[in-house]
Symmetry: C2
Subunit: 363 residues, 2 copies
């Protein structure tokens, strides 16, 4: 990793720095630590776009007073297995873990717990949450909506976020199966990387602002949009579109948050929707006790066997065979815990800038 383009940092150093920065902006210590932990999970798991790379956006909105550093998180409605939480415009990195924990506690009593969250902000990687449930022998679910970047199939404008779905299943000797996927074909970060490298993007990822399929990453930034998973009608683009809508309805409409094109942006200097239909963005969490359905131990043994059977699938020509969802992230985590997290220079510079502004040392 030691080349000119990256610098390597220990995860502890990054976590500590982020926690102190959050505290600088009046986030209480336990919440700052929690928020930093979510970011660290992204950096460990190799999802670089969602980790410390976002600190400068968080700092921007916190310093402008656009996010409430001391939210009073409230339950606005509940039944034994469902609830809606108002995040009081707090950090999603704080509101999300709290709501997820409530889903887990609810499941302990009622078998399952389902929490929709409104008036919240971006919550990091969805995979973070579902792993917490899996650690408790539960099946964890997490979704969130986000500001519009994706066009519906047959549309030509940004109407939906990249709206991820995550779910995790605990194994016994094998690690958990962790699904964590945006419902668009390719992540926005990949467009940015192609742009930086001066490369084309594959047809099927995006359209330009005239609704035409494009292979120029710059077209996406110039008012184009990402395509939903499936890309076009022939390859099932209506399905990715439907999944993005499902996430949006569960996270946004069900909680009383904004939805679709009205979801507010994450960072400063992004376009603000002309209309607000409700409060903030929304999340949706679920936790189901495995032993609410079947003996936990036999389920986890089946998951182990499941993993082994799928690993043994005959590989397609030119590949080393199917992965199990969660494999790449876990491998990244193993490496980065030992060898540190490589950060690209623009991110390092952002963090140094934050250090200068706040007086919190970063090196």
């Amino acid at each position: 990793m030691a080349n000119v383009e990256v610098e390597v940092f220990s995860i502890e150093a990054l976590r500590e720095f982020c926690a102190r920065v959050f505290m600088h902006f009046r986030v209480p210590k336990d919440q700052a630590t929690q928020a930093a932990d979510v970011l660290a999970a992204a950096d460990l798991r190799g999802i670089d776009s969602h980790g410390v790379a976002r600190m400068s956006s968080y700092v921007g909105v916190l310093s402008e007073g656009l996010i409430n550093p001391k939210p009073e998180i409230k339950i606005v409605r509940s039944t034994p297995s469902t609830a809606t939480i108002d995040g009081d415009n707090g950090l999603g990195l704080v509101v999300g873990p709290r709501a997820n924990q409530m889903a887990i506690e609810m499941a302990q009593k009622a078998g399952s717990g389902w929490i929709s969250v409104r008036n919240t902000n971006h919550y990091g990687i969805a995979g973070y949450y579902v792993l917490k449930a899996a650690e408790c022998d539960m099946i964890g679910w997490a979704m969130t909506n986000s500001s519009a970047l994706v066009t519906p199939l047959w549309g030509m404008e940004r109407m939906l976020g990249t709206n991820p779905i995550a779910i995790a299943f605990p194994g016994k000797k094998e690690p958990p199966i962790v699904i964590d996927m945006a419902t668009c074909t390719a992540a926005y970060g990949k467009i940015e990387i192609a742009l930086r490298k001066g490369q084309k993007i594959p047809a099927g990822w995006a359209i330009d602002n005239q609704g035409r399929v494009t292979t120029e990453p710059a077209d996406v930034l110039a008012g184009g949009a990402l395509l939903p998973l499936g890309s076009d009608r022939e390859r099932g683009g209506h399905k990715g579109y439907a999944l993005a809508m499902m996430v949006d309805l569960l996270s946004g409409a069900l909680s009383g948050a904004n939805w679709g094109p009205f979801a507010p942006p994450f960072a400063l200097r992004q376009t603000i929707p002309t209309r607000s239909v409700d409060k903030g963005i929304g999340h949706f969490f679920g936790a189901m006790r495995v032993d609410g359905f079947i003996d936990s131990d036999s389920f986890k043994s089946q998951v182990d066997e499941y993993i082994r059977v799928f690993r043994a699938t005959k590989p397609a020509p030119g590949t080393s065979g199917p992965l199990i969802p969660g494999d790449p992230e876990r491998e990244a985590e193993g490496i980065r815990r030992k060898s540190g997290v490589p950060l690209v220079l623009p991110v390092v510079n952002d963090l140094r800038e934050i250090s200068k502004k706040t007086g919190i040392p970063f090196d």
Copy 2:
């Protein structure tokens, strides 16, 4: 519709015929009526592959004693919001509706209800179930696994079923949003249609038995496999694969049914897996009371507004703009209720054959 290739039947006639055929094979009257209703829903909604076109397969397995016409459906485990049901190897068309109804009743008490089902058989269209929940002001979920047809990304063999996900959200003045999608790129029925018409299939739908992408439908039947939604790595084929696995784990492993390549086939003369890991195939149902999260009336009004906003999306060039999930099926239903259901001649001949065998009139 009146051309040489189809004959048109009223939905009442088809429903009545199917119910009587099920009764002929010792299915109790109320269950036979229920089973026929699920099939009729498929024919009404234009999902021809899942309606009366399957009667001859049902008759095959019933007459061979491979399905239990009088199952004792049992709850094997439960909490206030979760349960596992053993379908006693009954018709999925009978076991499914029962389990779905239990999820709805559970939600009435606990806010949500989640039912996994083992030892069951194919249950028709997933959309049928979620519409029932939507009628009760609930968000309905339905999934099922099925015999293997789909390869994991980077695999070259059939390891997963077409494993559908369905979910419905009730509207107020607008009809419900109904998502009902297989997790592969294209339905198997489309391969069969292309074969019959002597047409090629698009690259991205399937591989041949050497793991190569193919455009020949015959290659799929000759030991090839369907590709998961997303088709290849570049377009997110790992996501469709992960979704199919999610459905399989929730329906199969969680209930104690067979999963992956071990899910038994639907009809006679299909390959029987060499190994059984548990009982039958599996389903997964969920129902969440909308008012367990938010006022039902305001949610349904938001769904109405959601539909209107998405219908007003700027259309991509050459299209009439995005549809709302559930639109095509509802339109088909409107037409077919009035004008009848067109059946292709091979299906009509199958039904006449059943009529001859059972003595139940069909014309």
